[in-house]
Symmetry: C2
């Protein structure tokens, strides 16, 4: 009984209760007053306007797809799809709602209390997102599994949940990514470069949109992405267990199908404990407190998983597989940390002395170099996991990597909250001391965000791989002699087409940011020009107009890349067949992962090189090196926050949709 | 008799005789006097110093590899390897020797005669490279085939020829690429940007090295690359024909093994006729004359190929396969032309008005977008070719694409000759009229060079695919149940490792250019600083010192990426097995092709956007848009002339080495 889907659901509900308590605790903190409160309200309502309009568009999409699924596949899949989309949307809403409450409270904790208190507020604000993802995922999947598990047809319909989560994540990632960077680039280019006013200056009409962007991109977008990885790795593990032909008994199959849910529930408990430990150690240095929390959660999870595997009478190989997955994520995270924090940053900064061109070249070279270790690590995970527990192992490793998502996502969402707190402190003039604390928190947030991005890419790659394995397993049942051999022309053609998609998709998202930023620039310039007294601080800018432009621009431009992602596997599948789809998935996973790592790390290293110079190195602010680094940072913005992260979800959407259409190919 | 390897050898010899006559004709032109002659001599001897030192290093490598091959494989392979390396080296030497004679003669033809005469000299200078490649390839392969064809073991040894050509091309491409761009960037950054003197100004100490670079990179490097594609597609076709199990008779097998040599010989004859037609029409506009030559050569080839296929009693499907290959190259070339000449150029130029960052982002977006059509075209070629004539068809399509290499390479090598002629005219002060003619020729050269790059990538991809097919065919004979299925973990791991290599390799070559350019900058600055009277034109700079630095920097930095390429398949093969190597080849081909197209086209579009502004658009020279475009152009230099082209040979070297070690895996 303890190892059934009920426990997963119960632990999910328990997680939600804890989340509610944490949310209440955050809200009870001082929400500020005066200007700070006004600004925070503006950010909050800007974020809510965006998410409401985004969900309105998504609603139409989801309705349409539900109809298509219920006609062409079955009602069960359609139902699961709606539940998956709803859960993802709900998690994103709760996370962002909390984040836009926690930001101003973090700023006030920094002003009125200590750095430790500010850390607590920001971290607990982020925890709500992390725990919500895990809890809602467990409840949604657990309930569906309970109803669907008895029949192969309905069991297959579970994939609909993954597809629902995929579609929401696709638009949240792409739309959020375009929003955040068009606002950021637009506000910076006019405010900092043309007008010479500091970042987060309240006179800049784009400053609220910029702060809203942090929330819709780095909180809601990232959250939907990770939610999708979390759920689809569980679903893929169940799907593979359902099709395994080599098992000794049906009992073992039932156990293996239950295992991912049980382990994920264990991971949620571990995350909650880890989050509690951060609170206990919050008087230490912020970086230390966060590290204690994460490491403890992982150690607790690994220990509990050992007990679970033994209690279920499973071979110890399953436990080792989990370990391999967890280790893989640590390696990928560490590489990201090295490439975006250490020697490479100083090298890029130094390249700034010979101008922007050398900054760009050396940054791209660093980004490209940084793919090596993650790829080798992923290769190691694949070999070890399959040697230990076969095809099932790849999916299980992904579950192991993602089980402690509660605390990992908390650390990730902490970044934009701290960033926002700094922005509010600056805009509301909350003083040097407050700003010093928020800066310290923000800087730590940059590191955790970079590591979080590495984790998101690794998790996406492994989750996609798991779904691809499920796709292969499924097609093999329906098609005799199904072979994905690379010497089959159709597989090869699919591979090429799949490899092309991430390039085309990145091109689209980069262009979208450029175009949307262009619209922002025009509006911000107009306000500086037409509103008298704006530069002197005697008149207020029209913030809403800027958030409205960013919102419309992002929503308009997310549709085409989104449609490309959704329709590609369908078109290829029904014109060239399942072999080509298999190639397509492998090609997109390969090119998507390589490109995502390159873009994310190049962007992060440019960002940090600029900050390194701003600290007074190599001539400091306004030196030639700094001007060159600013160019790199601007190029890096869409790389690391739009195109790179959007590739994670691209490869997963392609895989999920392929899995859904697999029986019909 | 007419369809035997003898005809191939005889036509090769005939080609060499024609080449010799053309060479004499070029040399008989006025070689100039005074300053121009001195400059030309300096470029010629700089190029020869580089190639001699490069060949000295290559000699050691070749010796070592010959020893390894004769010990671990057999003496036949070792012998073929030496012949292949020797042929490639010889072709590169002849081509570059002629190009550095033709440059000054083109300048003088422009000064003393007409644009038509200048075109003739430059084009015939380039023809020597094109015809040498085809002739030497036919003679070398034809003779080896005659001696090796009777025994499966010796027939397999033919692959050694391809490996020899690969290794030479690898170092020629990488070394030449690093040389040309370090000299270019170094000379430009100090001369144009810091000192404000024009391009090709004789006061710039780096100017000779810059002009040498055009020859070692765009003539010798490109030539070795294309030579390798030409030969390895012939070899792969022979190798596949030798292993086909579905043939009706051994006679047909003999015919199919002969077919690539026969067709390539036919292609050489067609090229010679096409080159003759360019001379006949040289009084037309340069672009028209070149187009007539190429189109005629292709039409003659296709017609002759029809006769050959019929005479050999082969199915017409073989002829259609050739047609598909030829058509593929036309599509890929046209796309390159569009992306680097039309609307995208104006869009990038316009992005320059909002600064360098937007130029970089939009250029990369254009580069990424430009992969779509070539990938679809390649997919079409694969599907059609295999449907027509099976696995053999992919290789045959590559042969069809490369048969008219004589004239295509002539047009390609024409570019750097015209570029050099312009440089010499500027340095020697040969007057406005001369400069106007050479500028006109140079501009045409930019277009032909971009199309040539597209052709080189397409040819490399198809040739590599042919070699990979041969690898699969070969391993399948030796290994039972050999499967390259994507659901095999080792295939997948190989795929990931293979996909990583182009990124790592590009990172290395970009960094090499940056470092080498840094050394050049230091030296050029030193000379401007220490040599009194240099800026006033009363003292001469020390050109030799700069060419020596570029030479040493390039040779030193080509070794590590070269070793990475050579050892990767060996390490993966003997540690993870043939499945992983198969994956490695597919992954490197996919990522290499995507990245090569992105880098080449982004580089070309930046270059042309800068030129578009320099023509007076958007504010013209020294406007903000121009400054931004210059940053793009500088970033694009290593993209399009070092890292991008080096990927062509990377994927072919990996494939060739894998084919050689295939029987031992």
């Amino acid at each position: 009984m303890i190892y059934s889907e009920f426990s997963a659901v119960i632990i999910g509900v328990f997680g939600l209760v804890i989340t509610w308590l944490v949310y209440r605790m955050v809200c009870k903190q001082n929400g500020g007053d005066g200007v700070a409160r006004e600004i925070a309200e503006a950010i909050h309502s800007g974020a809510m306007v965006f998410i409401r309009q985004e969900y309105a568009i998504l609603f139409v999409f989801v309705l349409l797809l539900t109809f298509i699924l219920s006609v062409f596949i079955d009602i069960y899949t359609a139902l699961a799809f709606v539940v998956g989309a709803g859960c993802s949307g709900l998690a994103g809403f709760i996370g962002m709602h909390t984040a836009t409450r926690a930001n101003v409270r973090t700023a006030f904790a920094a002003k009125e209390k200590t750095a430790a208190d500010a850390l607590s507020v920001a971290f607990f604000g982020g925890s709500v997102m992390g725990m919500t993802i895990a809890s809602i995922g467990l409840i949604g999947l657990g309930l569906l599994f309970y109803f669907y598990k008895h029949d192969p047809q309905t069991l297959f319909a579970l994939n609909g949940f993954g597809m629902g989560a995929s579609v929401v994540a696709l638009f949240a990632r792409v739309g959020g990514g375009i929003y955040t960077k068009s606002a950021d680039v637009g506000a910076d280019l006019v405010g900092k470069v043309e007008k010479g006013i500091p970042e987060d200056d309240p006179r800049n009409p784009g400053v609220i949109a910029d702060n809203v962007g942090d929330n819709v991109g780095d909180v809601a977008g990232m959250g939907a992405d990770i939610f999708e990885s979390y759920c689809s790795s569980i679903i893929a593990t169940i799907a593979i267990a359902a099709t395994l032909t080599t098992l000794a008994s049906d009992e073992i199959r039932q156990t293996l199908m239950m295992l991912p849910l049980t382990l994920s529930a264990t991971g949620l408990v571990s995350s909650v404990l880890g989050i509690g430990l951060v609170r206990v150690f919050s008087d230490r240095a912020p970086a230390v407190a966060l590290r204690i929390g994460v490491l403890s959660a992982v150690i607790i999870f690994v220990t509990l998983a050992w007990i679970v595997v033994n209690q279920l009478n499973l071979d110890v190989a399953y436990w080792y597989t989990l370990l391999v997955g967890a280790l893989g994520s640590v390696i990928i995270g560490s590489v990201t940390d090295y490439y975006t924090e250490q020697t490479p940053v100083r090298r890029i900064a130094k390249a700034g002395q010979t101008g922007p061109a050398t900054v760009i070249i050396s940054g791209i070279a660093v980004g490209m170099q940084s793919v090596a270790v993650p790829v080798i690590a992923l290769g190691g995970v694949i070999i070890l996991a399959t040697n230990l527990t076969g095809l099932y192992g790849v999916a299980l490793a992904a579950v192991g990597m993602l089980a402690t998502v509660g605390i990992i996502m908390a650390i990730d969402a902490y970044g934009p909250i701290a960033d926002n707190a700094g922005g509010i402190a600056e805009m509301a003039g909350m003083g040097e001391r407050t700003r010093a604390i928020t800066d310290q928190l923000d800087q730590l947030g940059n590191t955790t965000a970079a590591v979080g991005k590495g984790f998101a890419i690794g998790a996406a790659a492994l989750a996609a791989l798991a779904v691809i394995s499920a796709f292969v397993a499924n097609v093999s049942i329906h098609t005799e002699n199904f072979s994905l051999s690379l010497d089959q022309p159709l597989v090869l053609v699919g591979l090429f087409l799949g490899g092309m998609l991430p390039f085309l998709f990145s091109s689209m998202t980069m262009t979208a940011v450029g175009d949307a930023a262009g619209e922002m620039i025009v509006e911000i310039r107009r306000q500086f020009h037409e509103i008298t007294g704006l530069m002197e601080g005697t008149a207020k800018p029209d913030y809403e107009r800027c958030t409205a432009i960013a919102t419309n621009a992002a929503l308009k431009r997310m549709v085409i890349p989104g449609l490309l992602a959704i329709t590609s596997p369908i078109v290829v599948g029904f014109s060239l067949g399942p072999e080509a789809v298999g190639g397509l998935l492998a090609g997109s996973l390969l090119a998507g992962m390589l490109l995502a790592i390159t873009l994310s790390n190049a962007g992060a290293v440019w960002d940090n090189a600029k900050k390194y110079i701003e600290k007074g190195n190599l001539g400091g602010k306004f030196s030639d090196a700094h001007n060159a680094a600013v160019v790199g940072d601007t190029v890096g913005d869409p790389f690391k926050d739009t195109s790179g992260p959007a590739l994670n979800i691209l490869i997963k959407v392609l895989a999920m949709i392929s899995l859904i259409i697999a029986p019909f190919l």
